[in-house]
């Protein structure tokens, strides 16, 4: 290793810019993605706090109805596309895929760098919309026409920004897929890959196939907005006794295109988290993940099914009832692999030897919020019930549990777990546990009561409840949720403090601080340029040989050949 390091310094004295800014190293690019996503999470989180403030105390918040709508829109847009997607696929995907499959870098490092740098460009375009006349987009993160076509420059910038980000995602996905398919080290068969890689790999395929649909939709919407076309706009409508006799474009067409991406998108946000949580759980339970192959299969099943369920977002849009029934069936089917995964996580804990590191706590939290949010999906998937709770706070509660919080908890677990590998230091465990012990109850206190507001009939995306008498009973509840949300926001600030503090003062970490089996722990923390030493590691076993009966240690790294089980490698 020392030889390699020396070579590094002798042969390629990379400048600061080449090494940290315009780097081609997947690890640096991954960290760049993570840090940028964290900065955006601050913006998106601040917007969430503003939105909550307005819902609790509309006058005191200082938001107008218009600025409230743009805050809601930008919160949703930033959190889905610019925080969760980028952190999971861009951040962890880049950092972990080559390390965990035993590759020296991505298949196309230059493309990888371009993919990262398109992200800040799209961000600048998005945030620039705060400085244009009319302000940023305010038609919701779904940007349904014709409302979005009423928007001005802000909406145009929103669309352009999204188009740039989609191209970044496409480059990234191409890289991840090619890397996984082509650059696995010797012995790393597909069914020896850690579930983290499986999650990221399936996600890459999912985003490669679904994002182009949104690109097509946003190109056409942009032409409707700026070019005067009518792809989605109805013109010259005449309605004669309930029959439309003349019309132009169809706004529902956009919804179909949008949700064809939009639903896979929520799985893009959850599958990588599922993978990481599975690995972190196995590691901290000192036990193999239960039913590895079933886990892989259920992830693949979720991915395939996710292309067949988009219509459940449109039950009340005027879709044909029979079509609604079909979408209901596919939607409820997708609950089966999700249930299987949950049972497997529980079975992994069962008869384990649990260590409560912060990453383990957040993985347990992940399962808890995923179950809570997943269950209410059964209500929303049933069209007759959806007719009542659609577009109410019930939906807001549902997806903030199953997608937003679960995905965020997965990211936290991943960061606590791989921080030592990224920076050579551990994060402060005590602070990490405090973070969890406040974050989990605060998450429940924020999102669980939203179910009640939704069942009581409170619509989402409303600035104030004052125009409806029947919503008056939710005033106190809304204020309670707002306070809980503030506490949740503050708890996550603890993470940020911990992150920054640990970069400088964290306890130094050795190569394998968690006694883990996967390949990234076989190389120093942080790994050198090129990841592994002279020889690439050779894989002899799956990633879950924890507590193998008869072995001297309770874990056997993937590189240990089957013979000397009694004496695991370094």
């Amino acid at each position: 290793m020392a030889v390699v390091q020396a070579q590094l310094h002798e042969e390629r004295p990379l400048s600061f810019w080449r090494r940290y800014i315009f780097s081609l190293d997947h690890k640096v690019i991954g960290i760049q993605y993570l840090v940028t996503s964290m900065a955006m999470a601050l913006v998106g989180g601040l917007l969430a706090m503003l939105v909550r403030f307005a819902l609790g105390w509309p006058e005191a918040s200082g938001l107008t109805p218009a600025s409230y709508m743009s805050a809601v829109t930008m919160h949703g847009t930033i959190m889905t596309f610019f925080v969760l997607s980028t952190a999971l696929t861009g951040g962890f995907g880049n950092f972990l895929i080559p390390l965990q499959i035993g590759a020296r870098d991505m298949a196309y490092p230059f493309l990888n760098m371009v993919s990262y740098w398109l992200y800040p460009v799209s961000l600048v375009v998005l945030l620039a919309s705060y400085f244009v006349p009319g302000g940023p987009a305010s038609a919701g993160w779904t940007a349904y026409p014709p409302l979005s076509v009423q928007g001005g420059t802000g909406q145009a910038l929103w669309l352009i920004s999204l188009a740039i980000l989609i191209i970044a995602f496409l480059f990234g996905s191409l890289n991840y897929i090619t890397t996984v398919l082509q650059l696995r080290t010797k012995g790393m068969s597909l069914l020896r890959m850690p579930l983290t890689v499986w999650g990221l790999f399936i996600t890459a395929i999912l985003s490669l196939l679904s994002f182009p649909m949104l690109l097509a939709a946003s190109i056409m919407l942009l032409f409707d907005l700026l070019g005067g076309t009518s792809f989605f706009l109805p013109f010259n409508i005449v309605i004669d006794g309930g029959q439309v006799t003349a019309a132009g474009g169809d706004p529902l067409l956009y919804q179909h295109l949008f949700w064809f991406l939009g639903h896979p998108e929520v799985y893009i946000l959850i599958l990588p988290a599922m993978g990481m949580v599975s690995d972190i759980m196995a590691n901290n339970a000192r036990r193999p993940i239960f039913g590895y192959k079933t886990m892989v299969l259920s992830m693949a099943a979720i991915a395939v099914l996710s292309f067949l369920v988009w219509g459940h977002h449109m039950f009340v849009s005027g879709m044909h009832p029979l079509l609604g029934t079909a979408f209901m069936a596919t939607t409820l089917v997708i609950a089966i692999p999700s249930a299987i995964k949950t049972f497997h996580w529980l079975a992994t804990l069962w008869r384990g030897k649990l260590r409560f590191t912060p990453q383990m706590l957040f993985s347990i939290g992940f399962v808890s919020v995923f179950v809570t949010g997943g269950l209410t999906g059964l209500v929303l998937g049933s069209p007759a019930l959806d007719m009542y709770v659609h577009d109410t706070y019930f939906v807001v509660a549902h997806f903030h549990f199953v997608m937003a919080s679960a995905s965020l908890f997965g990211i936290f677990a991943g960061l606590y777990h791989w921080f030592p590998k990224m920076f050579g230091r551990k994060m402060n465990e005590r602070l990490g546990r405090i973070h969890f012990w406040i974050a989990l109850p605060a998450t429940y206190a924020t999102f669980f009561p939203m179910h009640f507001a939704g069942i009581g009939g409170m619509m989402r995306r409303i600035y104030s409840i004052e125009f409806y008498d029947y919503l008056a009973r939710f005033e106190g509840l809304n204020q309670f949720i707002t306070i809980a949300a503030f506490i949740m926001g503050a708890a996550h600030m603890l993470f940020l403090v911990n992150f920054v503090w640990s970069l400088k003062y964290g306890e130094r970490a050795e190569a394998n601080p968690w006694q883990a089996t996967t390949l990234e722990w076989e190389t120093p923390s942080p790994p050198p340029h090129g990841n592994f030493g002279e020889e690439l590691p050779e894989v002899h076993r799956w990633a879950y040989d924890y507590s193998v009966p008869g072995a001297t240690t309770d874990y056997i790294p993937q590189t240990v050949s089957p013979r000397p089980v009694a004496a695991p490698g370094p």
Partner: protein, 273 residues
């Protein structure tokens, strides 16, 4: 290398604390749901076609609550029970075909039942309105509702959003069948009589929502969507817009008045044609 990173004693304590946290959240979730059932639940149902919705919701809610309590309690228990106690080793068992088949089949059966129940209900509530149903056209716009009644000839006049003018909020063609139509800012319906709503929009997408009817349907420009219901309780109810339609989305309210036939006819007569 094989040294243990943390003290078993502390893992045991941490496990206990984490389990307590999960159970506490579970208890509060159950308690708050029980409270919500009395104070925050759906308003009383006044649509005789939607009784099935409330029934299915209750059944499903009980089922979900049972699964929720079971899974969270078990999660807490495993966290409590299997904390690292410093002795022995975790189980290496990681496959159990019988168990896996069981927990795949159980949700599958449950979901088939739910699909059949939910699908049947959906086709019923979305089915065609009975022929005796009264028809009202609902035209949404930023940010309000206009209700268009066919008048004595029972025929709706054509509307053209491009013909909207002062005094003609929906662009109704007053020649021909539209001559006797009534255009009003409130929805009046007769108790016990089925009502068919034809929803459309002048500008962007809106959504017609009356919580007491358990009914929500988008009003899409360039399309006409249809829903029907039978009100059972006289009274005044609020109509809300449930689809984001701009900055004024939150104030897009209207009134629905459910009244007797006589009251309805008197109201209709008082409206100018």
């Amino acid at each position: 290398m094989s040294s243990h990173p943390t003290q078993p004693q502390s893992e045991k304590r941490l496990g206990r604390a984490t389990a307590l946290l999960i159970w506490l959240i579970l208890a509060l979730a159950v308690a708050s749901s029980a409270y919500a059932l009395r104070h925050w639940w759906s308003p009383p149902l006044i649509n005789s076609e939607a009784a099935g919705i409330d029934r299915l919701f209750s059944v499903l809610w009980i089922l979900l609550a049972a699964v929720f309590v079971g899974v969270q309690a078990l999660l807490g228990y495993f966290v409590f029970r299997y904390a690292d106690r410093g002795e022995g080793r975790a189980s290496y068992e990681h496959e159990n075909l019988r168990l896996e088949i069981a927990w795949t089949a159980l949700p599958a059966v449950l979901l088939v039942v739910l699909t059949v129940l939910g699908g049947g209900l959906w086709l019923r509530v979305q089915g065609a309105a009975p022929p005796e149903a009264a028809t009202v056209q609902v035209v949404a716009q930023q940010f309000g509702w206009t209700f268009h009644y066919p008048g004595p000839d029972d025929r709706l006049g054509p509307i053209r959003p491009m013909d909207v003018a002062v005094g003609n909020p929906i662009g109704l063609d007053r020649e021909g069948p539209g001559a006797d139509d009534v255009v009003a800012g409130e929805l009046h319906v007769v108790v016990g009589q089925p009502v068919r709503l034809l929803l459309t929009s002048r500008d962007v997408i809106h959504s017609f929502y009356v919580p007491e009817l358990r009914l929500k349907q988008d009003a899409v420009p360039g399309r006409v969507t249809e829903v029907w219901f039978t009100p059972t309780q006289p009274g005044v109810y609020e109509i809300a817009c449930a689809e984001l339609c701009g900055a004024g989305h939150y104030l897009m309210a209207a009134r629905m008045v459910v009244e007797t036939e006589a009251e309805y006819q008197a109201w209709l007569a008082s409206q100018n044609r």
